[in-house]
């Protein structure tokens, strides 16, 4: 069983992210962390590989800053890390990401399972996950809350997915791409030895030429970033006894027509 996960470095969840005067996104001196959703994907990859005496790999697509996320994965216990970067990926949209991601999966040892965290918080989307599955030509199971069984003999997987309307149990043939939710596991902290080993690891970087692909045309472009509009009105504090506060609030909410 070979399991591949994807990760990237994103600003700390508590960081104040804003658009600077030059129009670029900045988070000051705040640290970058592993995209928070990816920790669950990494943990699940390690757990499932341990169960089946399998192996794990992790891939990041992006410039130098993403090496930190890869080292965190190695420190947690992932066996192999790989970074994909090429100047041509600089302005790529999700189609370009998915094309490179699928090519990287195909170039590593044959994988049975690719695990993504639910979404990437920096780019605010999960679209590249589904597109990677399509570029691989594999089935896709999103929002997985639990892996119920992996049968490497019959080449099947059964999972529980958490959807808007309830919990779905679904089976798929392997290989498959899945994306996992927060409550699937409790991600481990890297061990001291793991961190030391990871800090010395040299992570290979592959270009598009190494992958032997060219990217599809860029279809979408981020033209600018802006800070969300600041709240203009101040908060109206309601005072009195709890009953008086409740009565005033009901009046305000009726005026606002939100009931």
């Amino acid at each position: 069983l070979h399991i591949i996960t994807f990760t990237r470095s994103t600003p700390d969840t508590e960081a104040r992210v804003e658009v600077g005067p030059d129009g670029a996104v900045t988070w000051g001196n705040a640290a970058t962390i592993v995209n928070p959703w990816d920790e669950y994907a990494i943990e699940e990859a390690i757990l499932q590989a341990e169960k089946a005496s399998g192996s794990t790999s992790v891939i990041a697509i992006g410039p130098d800053m993403h090496e930190e996320a890869l080292k965190h994965c190695l420190a947690m216990g992932v066996q192999q890390a790989l970074r994909i970067w090429d100047p041509e990926l600089e302005n790529a949209d999700s189609l370009g990401y998915a094309t490179a991601a699928a090519a990287a999966v195909n170039k590593l040892d044959a994988a049975d399972l690719v695990i993504f965290g639910r979404e990437s918080i920096d780019i605010g989307t999960d679209q590249h996950i589904y597109q990677t599955a399509r570029k691989l030509g594999w089935p896709m199971l999103s929002y997985v809350a639990r892996i119920l069984a992996i049968d490497t003999e019959a080449r099947t997987i059964q999972v529980e997915r958490l959807l808007e309307q309830g919990r779905q149990v679904v089976t798929s043939k392997l290989p498959v791409v899945i994306s996992v939710m927060k409550d699937i596991n409790e991600p481990r902290y890297p061990s001291f030895i793991g961190i030391r080993k990871a800090s010395r690891a040299s992570i290979p970087v592959w270009s598009l030429a190494d992958l032997g692909i060219s990217l599809p045309p860029v279809r979408t472009q981020v033209v600018s970033y802006s800070n969300p509009p600041a709240r203009t009105a101040d908060v109206e504090m309601l005072s009195g006894t709890p009953e008086e506060q409740a009565a005033q609030l009901v009046e305000r909410l009726l005026e606002e027509k939100v009931l």
Binding site: V17, G124, Q127, H128, Q131, P139, S142, E164, V223, M237
Partner: protein
């Protein structure tokens, strides 16, 4: 023929209400491009829902009722959508970005190497055919403006509740065409085993009103029964069930929670609002005992009206709120429930 396509999501034989928002946004774009508005209605009860799509503004409907499409699965749906896009080259394919809407549009866009923008909160179509859309990034801390080259098909997934749903017009009678599925059952790698709708689910993202509880839920004055191991957890769980839930029932609201409350085991993860939970933008958001950490704000700051109830007057949530109440949520919330019952007659 060029058109604007809108995918209508069906769950157990009924249209998911937010789908009509996409039909409303699609009407505007189709009128601007001077092309027909085509609804894609597939799955259980599709014929009846096709007629309904006409009332919400569709000129034509492409219907597919087939066993392989009865419940949503990505493979047969994406294959059919990609096939129709390749065959008819619509200018735009729209859907509300529910979990299914996003994965369907992303998959068909990948299959056809088309542009895709998701989580759109605002958009405009320029005269030269360029789509200019706004979407939240960095968990809502920043807005990105994204353009799509509109020479070929562009896929657009709208954020739920960001665009108004049109008023239905009973006179709308769409031209209905049946289409055939692309994949046979034997071509599909996934099989649905069960779907449990009862188990701990909250349609947080669709709800018009959300009432959330945070760490302050543990300040419940109720005394836990003998033998309870963790009094704070018992108190908070009891509070969600007996204090927040009754208010939610009166308001027909969904119950949310902060990450602190979920991490402490007060309530299930399905209820979490915020950066590592769900992003919501209801008409009314009532935060009870939530301090308002930046990562919580990221998930609810676009709510139309925000009410904060917190015992700490310095809590950051009051900087975001429209109405604030400094007080004990275990006194204020029951008083609010009683007052609303009286006013709303429920």
């Amino acid at each position: 023929m060029s058109a604007v396509y809108v995918w209508i999501e069906i769950f157990t034989g009924e249209a998911v209400a937010t789908s009509w928002e996409a039909l409303g946004a699609g009407r505007t774009l189709a009128d601007q491009l001077n092309v027909p508005l085509t609804a894609l209605v597939w799955g259980q009860n599709a014929a009846a829902i096709a007629a309904l799509a006409g009332q919400y503004g569709a000129d034509t409907v492409l219907v597919c009722e087939d066993a392989t499409l009865e419940a949503f699965r990505l493979e047969p749906y994406a294959a059919l959508l990609a096939h129709l896009v390749q065959a008819h080259q619509p200018r735009i394919v729209l859907a509300v970005g529910s979990s299914r809407g996003r994965e369907l549009l992303a998959a068909a866009a990948a299959d056809t190497d088309s542009g895709l923008i998701t989580e759109i909160t605002e958009m405009a179509l320029a005269d030269d055919g360029t789509i200019r859309a706004q979407r939240p990034v960095y968990a809502g801390k920043i807005t990105a403006t994204v353009t799509a080259y509109a020479a070929e098909t562009v896929f657009l997934a709208l954020r739920g509740r960001a665009f108004p749903a049109p008023e239905p017009d009973a006179a709308g009678k769409p031209a209905i065409t049946a289409v055939a599925p692309v994949l046979a059952e034997s071509d599909i790698a996934t099989q649905i085993v069960t779907f449990d709708t009862a188990a701990e689910t909250v349609s947080l993202t669709d709800a018009a009103i959300v009432i959330s509880g945070g760490r302050g839920m543990a300040d419940n004055p109720e005394t836990p029964p003998a033998g309870v191991e963790d009094a704070a957890v018992w108190k908070a769980q009891h509070g969600f069930e007996h204090t927040l839930q009754p208010l939610a029932q009166v308001l027909n609201a969904a119950v949310g929670a902060s990450r602190a409350a979920v991490d402490a085991g007060y309530i299930g993860y399905a209820h979490q609002v915020g950066q590592t939970g769900k992003a919501v933008s209801p008409d009314l958001y009532i935060a009870c005992g939530i301090s308002g950490a930046i990562q919580h704000q990221a998930g609810m700051r676009t709510s139309k009206v925000i009410v904060a109830i917190n015992k700490d007057p310095a809590a950051p949530i009051f900087k975001l709120a429209h109405y604030g109440i400094v007080g004990d949520l275990y006194q204020v919330v029951p008083a609010l429930t009683t007052a609303l019952k009286g006013k709303l007659g429920r």
